[in-house]
Symmetry: C2
C-alpha cells in the first residue's frame, strides 16, 4: 500500500485526503489545527494525523501541499529535511510564477516538486466544505518545470485521471498565470466590486438568476484571494485595465445612444459565449 501525505487540511487538502483514500492509498494528514485533523479522522479520510511536522513525513512517497502559496517556500525551507530521498512533492497553488522558482531554488536535489492546478476550488474555506467528489470532471493543469522528470509527469497525469479529472493540459507558469488572471482572478474582482457597488439588501427579493450568477463568487476567502491577487499583481492589473476599457466602450456607446456599437458588442459577446457552452 502506497502512502501519501497531505499538508494543509482545508477545503482542497481535505478533499484530496478523502479522494486518495477512496483510491486505496494510505493517507497521512498534516495540519497544526487539531480540529481539522479530527474531522479528517472522523470522516475516515486519513489513517494518521499529525499536528507536528517532525513525524510521519518520511513515510510518504508522495506529499501534496494544500497550503497558502506564500507559506510554501518557508515550509520547504523549514521541513524538507524530513522527507525520504526521492519523495515526489505536488503543490496546487493558484498562481505559479511566484511559487515555483523560489521553491525549486531551495529544494533538495533528491526531491522533485511538480506544480499542478486542479481547477475545482470552492468559495468556502475549511475542511467542513471539503468533498472527495470535487475532482470529478474538473480541468487539471500540469505546469512542468525544467527539473521535472518524464516518469513523474506520467505518474501525476495518471493520478489526475484517477482523481476523476476530465481534461489534463500543460501550460508554462506564465501561460497559467495569464489564464488565471483573466478567467478566475478578474471574475472575482468583478463580482466583489459589483457586490460592493452600493447597498443592496433591500433588493434581495427582486433578484433573478443573473445577479445571483454574477455575484456567487463575491462570497470569498479574503485571506487567500488577496494573497493570490498580490502574487499575480502585474497580470491581474493588465486584465482589469482591459476589462475597464471594454466597459468604457459600452458606457460611451450608451451615453452617445450609439445603438450600432452596442449591438455589435452584444453580437460579439454572444458569438464568443457560445463557444463556452
Amino acid at each position: 500500500m502506497k502512502t501519501v501525505g497531505v499538508v494543509g487540511l482545508g477545503v482542497m487538502g481535505g478533499s484530496f485526503c478523502g479522494r486518495m483514500k477512496e483510491l486505496g492509498w494510505r493517507v497521512l494528514g498534516f495540519d497544526p489545527n487539531g480540529r481539522s485533523l479530527k474531522t479528517a479522522r472522523d470522516k475516515g479520510w486519513i489513517d494518521e494525523g499529525y499536528a507536528d511536522f517532525s513525524q510521519g513525513l518520511n513515510q510518504c512517497e508522495m506529499v501534496i501541499f494544500c497550503i497558502y502559496p506564500s507559506l510554501l517556500p518557508e515550509w520547504i525551507g523549514a521541513w524538507q529535511n524530513q522527507f525520504a530521498s526521492g519523495t515526489l512533492l505536488l503543490e496546487i497553488s493558484g498562481v505559479k510564477r511566484a511559487v515555483m522558482e523560489p521553491v525549486q531554488k531551495i529544494l533538495r536535489n533528491d526531491l522533485e516538486l511538480m506544480s499542478i492546478h486542479p481547477m475545482c476550488g470552492r468559495e468556502s474555506k475549511g475542511i467542513d466544505h471539503a468533498d472527495p467528489k470535487i475532482f470529478e470532471q474538473a480541468n487539471f493543469i500540469l505546469i512542468p518545470h525544467d527539473k521535472n522528470t518524464a516518469s513523474s509527469i506520467v505518474k501525476v497525469s495518471s493520478l489526475a485521471k484517477d482523481l476523476g479529472c476530465r481534461n489534463i493540459s500543460v501550460l508554462s507558469a506564465k501561460e497559467h498565470d495569464t489564464m488565471i488572471a483573466f478567467l478566475s482572478q478578474l471574475t472575482h474582482v468583478i463580482a466583489v466590486s459589483l457586490m460592493d457597488t452600493h447597498e443592496n439588501e433591500h433588493l434581495v427579493e427582486y433578484t433573478g438568476d443573473s445577479f445571483r450568477d454574477l455575484t456567487r463568487i463575491a462570497s470569498i476567502n479574503e485571506e487567500m484571494w488577496s494573497e493570490l491577487f498580490l502574487l499575480n499583481k502585474d497580470l491581474l492589473l493588465d486584465e482589469i485595465h482591459q476589462f475597464q476599457d471594454s466597459l468604457s466602450a459600452f458606457e460611451n456607446a450608451l451615453q452617445n445612444e450609439d445603438e450600432k456599437t452596442m449591438k455589435e458588442m452584444m453580437t460579439l459577446s454572444t458569438a464568443r459565449r457560445k463557444k463556452f457552452d
Copy 2:
C-alpha cells in the same frame, strides 16, 4: 370559459400562452409571424392564432402584451379600437417609465392597462425557447398606475399566484427601473464587456464555473437589450458609474498593495452576498 389574448409570441408570449392554457383559459395568439403562430398551435398553446390584428381581439377580456417596449405605444395607437369595452391589458416590458406614461396617455378611457414584470426572462429569443414552467417560483412585480382599479390589482395578483410566481411585490415605475438598472441591466453590461475584453477562445478548455457563471448572460438578444438600455439610459449610466468607482477602488488597492482595503472589500462583498442565499 374566459378568453385571453397574447400579443407577440416570443419566448415570453409563448410561455404565457402555454401557461394560460394549462390554467384553463381559452387562448388567442396574435403575431404577424406565421411560423410562431404555427408553433403555438402545434404545441396546443393557443386555440386560435391571428396574424391580422383586426380579428379576434374583441373576444378577449384580458390581453397580455409581450412585444418590444418601443412598439407598444404605436401598437395601442393603431389597434386599441379593436378591444371590447372593459378589456384589461397587461404589459410586461422590462422598463416602465418610458412605457407606462406614453401608453396611459393615449389609452381609451374604457380600457385599463396594468404594468407587470414577471422576472423570468430567458436569454434565448423566440417561441422555440418558450416554456410554460418559467413562471414557477419567479418574482412577480406589479407596477400600479393612478388609473388602475383595486379590482384589477386583485385580479392580476391572483393571476400571478396561479402562474406559479413565488413572491408578488409592488414598486413605483422609478423604483422598478432603478432596481432593474442595477440587478439586471448592469449585470448584462458587465457580462458583455467581460466577454468582449479580449480574444478568449483558446481559453475554453480551462474555464471553471466562475467564468461561465459571469458570462452566461453575455449571450444576449441585442435588439431587445439595446432598446431596454436606451429606454433606461439615465439610471443605467448611473449604475455603471457606481460600479466603475467600486472597481477602481479595488484596482487602486491592488496597485498600491493595500491588502487591508482589498480584504475589507472582500469581507463586505461576502457579508452582502450571504443575504442573497
